[in-house]
């Protein structure tokens, strides 16, 4: 099988790619040929969404835990 490196191509996410020779023997071992600035631009908004998602998940967890504790566990009466 012949593997060719260094061809300029458009990646799936539309970023520009840069032909750089690689020492890796297989395509999956080749480092992403993405510019640092492009990467930072894409990542800039990611933590905000992830933060919101995590916050909602944790808030739901706490609310449900409190609901079960006060709505089910305590009304069932103490044991000792």
């Amino acid at each position: 099988m012949t593997i060719e490196f260094g061809h300029e191509r458009d990646s799936e996410n539309g970023m520009e790619t840069y032909p750089e020779p690689s020492a890796a023997a297989r395509p999956q071992d080749v480092a992403d040929d993405v510019r640092e600035e492009d990467l930072l631009r894409v990542l800039q908004d990611v933590p905000r969404g992830a933060f919101a998602l995590c916050a909602i998940a944790v808030a739901l967890l706490i609310i449900l835990w409190l609901a079960i504790y006060f709505g089910v566990f305590l009304p069932r009466g103490p044991v000792s």
């Binding site: 933060f51 916050a55 967890l61 706490i62 305590l74 069932r76 009466g77 103490p78 044991v79």
Partner: protein, 179 residues
């Protein structure tokens, strides 16, 4: 976003998670202290090979009995594959002490609709205190796999109103058949 900002975001998240855990722990600690809640903790050994011949778990002593102070003690034997007795009558609104042990393998006992939930181990007496506020029948399944008949191992706690609690001269009352 540089590494410093990522670190700051992670630290912020750590604080939020610590706060969430703190809320849960605070609720448990405060309610436990205020309502004197604590898990059953009774370590008491017994000879599992002699349960049927001597001691408090002989057959004639099983079931619920009223103590001189008005509280109830219910002794139950968990054995493959049944609880003995199959039905226990207790009055509502009184403190009930369940004492359970096993002559064979590990069983489990929980009372539906209550927080009573304990393992029953041969050689040990499990003890749980509780009060049933409302009359009614409570399903009591074995919740620890104990063999092929495990699925059919269950019993019932019949909680009767105070005015229907009519123990005999020995302070005992049994379920009316069928139950």
């Amino acid at each position: 976003m540089n590494e410093r900002e990522i670190l700051r975001t992670e630290l912020r998240w750590v604080l939020i998670v610590a706060g969430a855990v703190g809320i849960i722990v605070a609720v448990i600690v405060i309610s436990s202290a205020a309502m004197v809640l604590h898990p059953p903790s009774n370590v008491e050994t017994i000879d599992p090979t002699a349960l049927h011949v001597e001691g408090e778990f002989v057959e004639s002593n099983l079931g619920a009995v009223e103590n001189p102070d008005g509280t109830i003690t219910a002794r139950i034997l968990a054995t493959q594959f049944m609880f003995v007795p199959r039905c226990v009558v207790v009055p509502a609104g009184r403190r009930v002490t369940f004492r359970i042990t096993s002559p064979d393998v590990i069983h489990g006992m929980l009372i539906d609709g209550t927080n009573v939930n304990t393992m029953v181990m041969p050689g040990y007496v499990s003890q749980v205190n509780t009060t049933f506020p409302e009359p009614g029948d409570r399903f009591v399944p074995c919740h620890e796999y104990c063999g092929l008949g495990h699925g059919g191992m269950w019993s019932m706690i019949r909680v009767v109103p105070e005015n229907e609690w009519k123990p005999d001269a020995d302070g005992r009352m049994t379920c009316e058949f069928p139950y």
